[in-house]
Symmetry: C2
Subunit: 223 residues, 2 copies
């Protein structure tokens, strides 16, 4: 449903063909691998060598990279710096993203201190928690606000993304509130399925599902 739609797209010239979810995930992996290779001095890489370390076939690598345009040089391979730039642009990590985090519990605090966010240009600039005891506290240099303040604060700060580390029960309400406050993407760690507010993209990291996945694999001797 809703295929082309009213798309208020700016001159979306390059990356037009549909990237599958799996492809996008692999692009992330290529990107990290390429950054390591470049740091080690490698400036040219072939689809075979790039895929090898990641367990991806060379054909798959070429298909994935073909979406970004004609970056490969037949007989030679890909130029690492060029490729890195192209993937960064395609993934949207060539700029900074402002995010708000809701649910300042154990996991929330851990994520606040997590380097990976900042390294990729994701900056958490606002904290929210429903617990009155936490409101007003400072965590990692940021004040904890009441969820009621979202409607005012998020647009003012220009926050585009939300990170949900609330209990499962409150996740949906917080997601809806964030959507109303103009957030366009949510990364949720709350177990369970979130009904996505209109115009909001959701990526879910459900630890319970992952754990059960693992238990299943081990139990059934999946290799």
């Amino acid at each position: 449903m809703n295929k082309g739609g009213d798309a208020s797209d700016r001159a979306a010239n390059e990356t037009e063909a549909r990237l599958s979810r799996a492809s996008v995930g692999r692009l992330s992996l290529y990107l990290r691998r390429l950054e390591i290779l470049l740091r080690e001095g490698t400036t040219k890489v072939s689809s075979g060598t790039l895929g090898e370390a990641l367990g991806v076939t060379d054909a798959q690598v070429r298909k994935d990279l073909a979406y970004l345009g004609h970056l490969g040089h037949p007989g030679v391979g890909y130029a690492a710096p060029e490729l890195i730039d192209a993937i960064r642009r395609a993934l949207g990590v060539d700029r900074e993203w402002l995010a708000a985090l809701a649910g300042v519990g154990n996991l929330g605090r851990a994520l606040l201190r997590y380097r990976g966010f900042a390294d990729r240009g994701f900056r958490i600039v606002a904290l929210f928690d429903a617990d009155p005891a936490k409101i007003g506290q400072r965590v990692e240099g940021l004040e904890v606000h009441s969820p009621d303040a979202m409607a005012e604060l998020l647009p003012a700060l220009g926050v585009e993304l939300g990170v949900l580390t609330t209990p499962a029960e409150s996740a949906q309400a917080v997601a809806d509130a964030m959507a109303l406050a103009g957030v366009r993407g949510l990364l949720t760690f709350a177990p369970g399925v979130l009904r996505r507010p209109a115009g909001v993209n959701v990526v879910s990291v459900d630890l319970t599902v992952q754990l059960e996945q693992l238990a299943f694999l081990v139990q059934h001797g999946g290799e």
Copy 2:
């Protein structure tokens, strides 16, 4: 590979057909939904109502559940308690799993306090960290050991699973060491791809990949 093998399986009659990874993930979601429904007093559920809240078609639900055996009652639906038991058995969460955690940093500590683990029968019984300053400390009632102690401790405790919250650089070495110590499944949070030791199953939760997935979706207006 290794289909029937030497499997020290107790009468493994039912769950024989291949469950896809996606199916297993959905079974987790069904399970949680069913538990909520049952708590609310619902004891019968049809494929349509079960799938609705999760965004899964009725046919898909039936296909998934068919792997577990003939549990459905035509014209009626499925009996929730029966179904819950069957899914628990299939996923292997009808028993306790002992796990060790390596990397007692922010994320590791957050996971230690995370309820979801214990709730599903995953018990963390040993901690490891390479930092000499941390070795000997007690965290959440558990002593932090040197990684060198794994070979001795893990088999003695009967640990089957490992949780990796180490930096990316050390993840592979720790994974290999755990494999040697008899661990059969790993849940890793280290960014990057792990080369899986023989006989070990790996589930990776790569936050960087998830973040970039989200940035991509938002950037390209994926709804």
